[in-house]
Amino acid sequence: MNHRVIARLDIKGPNLVKGIHLEGLRVMGKPEEFASYYNEAGADELLYMDVVASLYDRNSLKDIITRTAKEIFIPLTVGGGLRSIEDITEVLRYGADKVSLNTAAIKNPEIIRQASEAFGSSTIVIAIEAIKQNDGKYLCYTDNGREYTGIDAFEWAEKAQDLGAGELIVTSVDKEGTGEGFDIELTRKISDAVRIPVIAHGGPGKLEHFEEIIREGNADAVTVASMIHYDYVSKNKSQGEFKGEGNVTFINSGKEFGKINKAEIMDIKKYLSEKGIDCRYINE
């Protein structure tokens, strides 16, 4: 089985953004341009996260999903601000293949059961945003790591599986956007606690980090954002102007971000393959 490399695109209004610890969002460009490039560059899936969900208008997200689904034929997961079965129905109708839930599931775990019965477990991905506490415990947070819930991440992972989740996306808020590497302990313990696939998110800054999280963290799949976004931005001038929603200073400055090495998706896959970890190649 091939390990999946999933391109994660955090979306704010009409723009692709990237933060650190899920905060301090910088505008990177237009999501569809990046998505289209990552599709051709070998991404196994796309993950769109609406990071300011429900605070701004949702029409941008709808347009982005619709356009993506017409031209890109790899799985598309959409998350952020989905509160109800109706919200899920809506994004699936726009063209998403799977949805990712966090806050709604923490507030009302039964929504996992309802959604997986209505749409199939394969459609329901539960996002766990965890922060390591001083006593070594990992607790779940919501709203991009801002809201404390007091819920143990490992117990929650098992519960989400039992309620019908098809996959888990496990985010280390501590590591996210830092380039220091994934949280191996967090991912490993969740992976040991469940049978469903675990997708690791947050922290990679160099190629070695992907091998670590698959071998030591036992991740079935990895997401990557900063490394490929910085690579793309360095090679392409995105079209159009960026306005509103998010800090545009970074993209206009052309600077690089020190701790994070730039990489193409195929750089990651080649590296993993050399280390004996199978990845999907696009055969022409």
């Binding site: 089985m1 091939n2 390990h3 999946r4 599709n39 196994d44 689904a69 017409k70 031209e71 034929f73 790899i74 799985p75 699936l92 109708r93 063209g95 293949d97 019965e117 209505a118 749409f119 199939g120 477990s121 394969s122 459609t123 098809g166 996959e167 049978r195 469903i196 696939p197 675990v198 079935d220 799949a221 999907r280 190649y281 696009i282 055969n283 022409e284």
Partner: protein
Amino acid sequence: MHKQNIVIIDYGIGNTHSISNALSYLGYKKLKISDSEEHIKKADALILPGVGAYEEAVNNLRKRNLEGILNEEVLINKKPILGICVGMQMLAEGSEENGWHEGLKWMKGKVKKLELPEQYAVPQVGWNNITINNTEPMFSKVDNDSNFYFDHSYYFDCEEKVLAAWCNYGIKVTAAVQHENIFGVQFHPEKSQTNGLKFFRGFFNSIK
């Protein structure tokens, strides 16, 4: 070219729009998402999609009175039909998913839970390479060992003679079946990028 009337059967289950997006992209213009008897009868080929629970899928199909229409079109009039994912599993005698539920019974064999060695996650989610037994017509444009996107916890334990392709996921997992005019794939061609598009093109090219 691409003059076939294709109907994606709409029974309230499944990602009909994803399939229609992929076929539209390939230039199949005479495409309908429909549960109307008239459309199904006029079609040159049918697609039976399916995502989610088996019980709900077969119940919905029956609620819309589609089983009888499909039996007539497929078994008597020999119209080509392609089942995708749960749509493929419905071709079987039935499924053991959450109790026993009868399928369309067009092919022998049952749908069973993936019972796998410890290290394999269930469901199988992701891209797996397939070994092709029968190239024509489904895989006429697809190379052996090509990868396709799978997402499932149950699989069709079918007879060897209808096994058109399989993948290795700890056990030999049915990837595609075919018998006369009846075809099915466990993977999602509509989500399998270039290989998926090649699959659709090869399959529909074979239909006159």
